[in-house]
């Protein structure tokens, strides 16, 4: 079958029984616009270049495959953090479980309320950053999210947020198919830390649009939960203005399929954009994909991509990362590293690092490696009395350390390190 036909069929099947949620004001138009993009692009298939390493079929079928709910015996994440907790259960906002949607320095509203307000700041971001991010690479699943998102919140950060905001995504229903869309606007000089945690749903489509104005600071720490059968397609589209900072870190445990796309556009001079992630997967039914696209369109900016994957028992990891330096984006400092630690011969890491540079005064580097545990180091540790498993876990943690170092807040980094240690001790 021709690719175009296959995409049309895939799209038709997905949309057959779909209705665009109707609200009022500008929301309807934004959704209709996005749906037109979906139809025009056609949904992704395994034969698309950008989906070469990850089969999107289970993300595009009409009926989400079920996923057993995992009973974790760990304490919920970020419990000790003084935060604004915003809870979604299988993709539906839960007011009772959530804190008051307020904190100093931020304005928080539910997406539906924002969409129903005639004149609203979110109108200039919702679906707008997503649309910008469709060039040069099409991301139809992101447009589908914009069209169909059933819930979400919009956050305007007007000053230094007094505490982090935590989206908590709970998964209770084996067949849930959740589509969430969140929007964050960091005003000039304002700052926010956004935390996200939890497995969310059997199938989860989540999109985050972040607009960081001049001198703004946005820190993002996310942990994707331990449910083994869950699937997720997430997108983060960010526009990063002059002298601002954007830092995002994602830790992923388990999951039959996770694709995290991060599309960053640096539009103002002297800005900093870091995106990092670590994932731990055990078994053939683990597939994790980080797809990153960083565009430099300003002078003297720094971007970093740091991705580490620990894979065992036939797990698969994918990294597709690109740095695009546009004409005139001089003094760009771009760095990209993707590495996998393969704990056995069955596991695999597929990487496609790319640089595309149209400016002459830039320093960009990228590297990708795949390797086993360093046997010499392992013996050294054991010769000092450290038992085999402990030694291996220590080396595994050290492998991940560079990514974990990207987390700005050391308490958060420590909490994540504890979770990592927990995972490693359960899987050794």
């Amino acid at each position: 079958m021709a690719l175009a036909q296959l995409k049309m069929d895939t799209t038709a099947a997905r949309l057959a029984d779909v209705e665009i949620p109707q609200g009022a004001a500008w929301g309807n138009a934004a959704r209709a616009d996005a749906m037109a993009r979906v139809r025009q692009m056609g949904l992704s298939t395994k034969r698309d270049e950008y989906w070469k390493y990850t089969d999107p079929a289970s993300l595009t079928v009409a009926d989400a495959p079920a996923a057993a709910v995992f009973q974790s015996d760990e304490a919920p994440l970020f419990d000790a953090v003084d935060r604004v907790k915003i809870v979604f259960v299988d993709g539906v906002f839960d007011a009772d479980a959530s804190d008051d949607l307020s904190a100093e320095g931020v304005e928080i509203e539910r997406l539906a309320d924002a969409m129903a307000t005639d004149i609203h700041w979110a109108k200039d971001i919702y679906g707008v950053l997503e649309k910008r991010g469709q060039i040069p690479v099409e991301r139809p699943l992101a447009a589908l999210n914009t069209a169909l998102a059933t819930d979400g919140v919009v956050i305007r950060v007007t000053g230094k947020a007094s505490k982090p905001i935590n989206f908590v995504y709970l998964h209770r229903d084996e067949t849930s198919d959740a589509i969430l869309h969140n929007v964050v606007k960091v005003e000039a000089g304002a700052s926010l830390t956004l935390l996200e945690s939890g497995p969310a749903a059997a199938r989860f489509s989540k999109l985050l649009e972040v607009d960081v104005a001049d001198g703004g600071i946005f820190n993002h720490v996310r942990v994707q939960g331990r449910d083994h059968e869950r699937r997720a397609i997430t997108h983060c589209f960010a526009r990063i203005a002059a002298e601002s900072t954007f830092k995002s870190f994602t830790l992923t445990f388990n999951g039959v399929l996770t694709r995290n796309e991060c599309i960053l556009e640096i539009v103002g001079d002297d800005a900093v954009a870091h995106v990092a992630g670590a994932c731990l997967g055990d078994g053939r039914d683990f597939h994790h994909d980080d797809t990153v696209f960083v565009t430099h369109d300003a002078v003297n900016c720094e971007s970093r991509q740091v991705f580490k994957k620990v894979l065992r028992n036939g797990a698969t990891g994918v990294f597709q990362g690109k740095i695009l330096v546009k004409e005139g984006a001089q003094k760009t400092d771009g760095y990209q590293i993707s590495q996998s630690l393969l704990l056995d011969d069955d596991s695999q890491f597929l990487a496609k690092p790319e640089l595309e540079i149209y400016a002459d005064d830039v320093a960009c580097s990228h590297g990708s490696t795949s390797g086993a545990i360093d046997e010499t180091a392992l013996f050294y540790l054991r010769s000092r009395g450290v038992p085999m498993i402990e030694a291996r876990n220590l080396l595994t943690l050290s492998f991940i350390a560079e990514a974990l170092d990207e987390i700005e807040d050391t308490d958060l980094a420590d909490e994540l390190r504890d979770r990592l240690e927990g995972w490693l001790s359960r899987h050794s």
């Binding site: 013996f379 000092r384 009395g385 450290v386």
Partner: protein
């Protein structure tokens, strides 16, 4: 303390015999030195004793205080009291020197049924011992051996030894790469550890180290065997005349 009998070792991957029957008995509280030409099998002996992969013992035995070493995992040998200061200490990026030391000390204590050292006690002990070896706090914070100079790595080996307090210490060319002052520091570190219940096997090419760490017995190893043993004067003979005479004598 250590009793090696007729130890024969070949490489696992190739048909290459490296140790061709090593006999060596080290009494508690004594210091033995091994000298010998490059490639004679000195490091191999130390690796086989500490349990490194890649070697196959085809014959013979090695026991630490009567316990069969060759049957144990490397970490069990360490817990039993064996320590090897590596000829080439290993760099471990991402693992802090402190974390490494503490993990090692506590793992050994645990294996021996002792309580783990508290963070405070541990820190105090490391600081003290590091100071006497002129290892500064900055070095302790860095990843294990990463960016350490050759001499710093060797001093770090001795620090580990001092922290772990093993019974049987094997030092593989700990003197190589050390300047004169560092050699003195390291020797003092070793001498401070000398006691009735602790033995040393010092592998070296040079008499100089043995000026500081006085051996009770000196062995000459050649082509996978100990071909001659004697007192400290044997080391002097090597220093002055090389190995030619000794090799000729046994041939």
């Amino acid at each position: 303390m250590l009793e090696i009998k007729g130890l024969k070792v070949k490489l696992e991957e190739e048909d290459k015999q490296i140790l061709k029957g090593v006999d060596l008995t080290i009494e508690p509280g004594t210091v033995h030195a091994i000298m010998g030409p490059n490639g004679s099998g000195k490091s191999t002996l130390s690796y086989v004793l500490s349990g490194k992969d890649g070697y196959e013992v085809t014959d013979g035995s090695a026991a630490l205080e009567g316990e069969d070493l060759l049957d144990m995992e490397p970490e069990e040998r360490a817990a039993a009291g064996l320590f090897l200061a590596f000829q080439y200490p290993v760099e471990i990026p991402g693992v802090g020197n402190m974390t490494f030391l503490r993990t090692a000390v506590n793992a050994q204590r645990k294996a021996r049924g002792q309580e783990e050292l508290s963070a405070g006690d541990f820190l105090k002990e490391v600081r003290e011992k590091a100071k006497s070896l002129k290892i500064d706090a900055e070095m302790l914070k860095r990843p294990v051996n990463v960016g350490f100079s050759g001499g710093e790595k060797k001093r770090n080996e001795i620090l580990q030894m001092a922290m772990l307090e093993p019974k049987m210490c094997i030092l593989d060319e700990t003197d190589s790469g050390l300047d004169v002052d560092a050699m003195k520091l390291v020797s003092e570190g070793v001498n401070a550890l000398r006691s009735e219940g602790r033995s040393f096997l010092v592998i070296t090419h040079y008499q100089r180290l043995l000026d500081h760490i006085k051996p009770d017995v000196v062995h000459i190893m050649a082509d996978g065997r100990i071909i001659k043993s004697g007192g400290p004067e044997l080391a002097l003979e090597v220093e002055n005349n090389g190995y030619a005479d000794i090799l000729a004598e046994v041939a």
